[in-house]
């Protein structure tokens, strides 16, 4: 005979719960978080710099928080846009968690901020599992990474509310299979919008800002990913019953 507890407890329930708290706290002060996921070198800093600059020109109060394992290079680049920017060094950790984001905001995030863009650690695996309290999750892929990226990283692309293709100006040079990419996105996330951008040429710049503003005004994203309808989202530790029996 040994004692057994059937716990039925979601492992990431604590992070999901903290993310929900942060989302509610930020919503109460009128701030919406946009979580950007991509591989290293996908061009998300270049695109974000262009989007922040545009937001400043349009008078949309934005801020950006950029996470890296090391160096403050990205914050220096983003700050050229004129928006408030903060660098988070994760000290080797491969992803951000809701608690880590919350701790960065106190005393820094300007009160008037409407959109907070979070540039997650460049990694398409680990950040996908962690809700940061965002309203809009965006997965980015550059044309140079190949059209099968969504199939290789189904959680990152499957849970996104918007997919952004970067470096579109290089599509022809690298023989990017656009139709193949769209079919692969649809396989893991049917119905999600895909926008094509080139930060260098200015093509598609503003699309990310427009979708973020819309999510802010509507209080939620326009798309609900199928993968987010799974049974394990937002498990709350206190909702689980702990009972015992003897075997």
């Amino acid at each position: 005979m040994c004692r057994v507890t059937e716990l039925q407890q979601a492992v990431l329930a604590k992070n999901d719960h903290r993310a929900d708290e942060l989302r509610a706290r930020l919503a109460a002060r009128g701030t919406t978080v946009v979580n950007l996921l991509s591989s290293p070198g996908s061009g998300k800093t270049a695109l974000l710099e262009a989007e922040l600059k545009l937001a400043c020109e349009r008078g949309v109060p934005v801020a950006a928080l950029t996470a890296d394992l090391a160096t403050e290079n990205d914050a220096t680049r983003l700050a050229r846009s004129g928006a408030p920017v903060k660098q988070v060094l994760t000290d080797g950790l491969c992803h951000l968690e809701a608690d880590m984001l919350a701790a960065q905001l106190d005393g820094w995030l300007p009160e008037a901020t409407r959109l907070l863009f979070v540039e997650n650690v460049g990694n398409l695996v680990c950040p996908a599992s962690y809700d940061l309290g965002e309203t809009l999750r965006v997965a980015l892929a550059s044309v140079t990474e190949g059209e099968d990226k969504p199939l290789k990283y189904p959680s990152a692309f499957g849970l996104a509310h918007l997919v952004v293709v970067t470096k579109a100006d290089l599509a022809e040079a690298v023989e990017f299979d656009c139709a193949g990419f769209l079919a692969n996105v649809r396989q893991v996330n049917p119905g999600v919008e895909v926008v094509f951008t080139s930060a260098r040429r200015g093509e598609g710049v503003g699309a990310l800002l427009d979708r973020a503003v819309a999510a802010h005004e509507n209080g939620g994203p326009a798309h609900r990913p199928v993968m987010a309808t799974g049974p394990q989202r937002h498990g709350h530790p206190h909702h689980h019953h702990v009972h015992e029996h003897a075997h």
Partner: protein, 132 residues
């Protein structure tokens, strides 16, 4: 490699459960865990081998030291409401309906990442177990 973060979260939750089982907030009479069973969906984004490796490290100096880890894998399944189709998604998942081609209405399984069961051994500090 977020499997270490996940392993540490599992250890924290099992230690909390041990105190509940013992009815003791201090943890002085909390039982040690003999084994932990996790239910991991194939679409949960977790690599079981990597999780095993991290679990052993995360258990050091805790009530879980030496505990066995069992992983039950759950296959991905999706459902299409309009035509009532239900299919195995595979990996990478195919979330478009094989019957009508439209997007799935719901993912019914495959994203699980939960502690299913903990088997307890002797209390860590007291010599008189309640059962066993």
């Amino acid at each position: 490699m977020h499997e270490m973060s996940i392993a540490l979260a599992v250890v924290g939750q099992v230690e909390t459960a041990a105190r509940v089982v013992a009815g003791d907030d201090t943890g002085a009479s909390a039982p040690k865990a003999r084994s932990v069973t996790l239910r991991v969906g194939e679409l949960a984004g977790v690599v079981p081998d990597s999780l095993r490796f991290c679990f052993e490290l995360a258990c050091a100096d805790s009530l879980l030291v030496g505990a066995e880890l069992h992983v039950e894998t759950v296959a991905g399944r999706a459902r299409c409401a309009p035509c009532d189709a239900d299919w195995a998604t595979g990996l990478p998942p195919d979330l478009c309906c094989p019957r009508c081609g439209s997007g799935a209405s719901q993912l019914t399984a495959g994203r699980e990442l939960e502690i299913a069961e903990v088997r307890w051994g002797q209390p860590a500090r007291t010599a008189t177990p309640k059962e066993d």
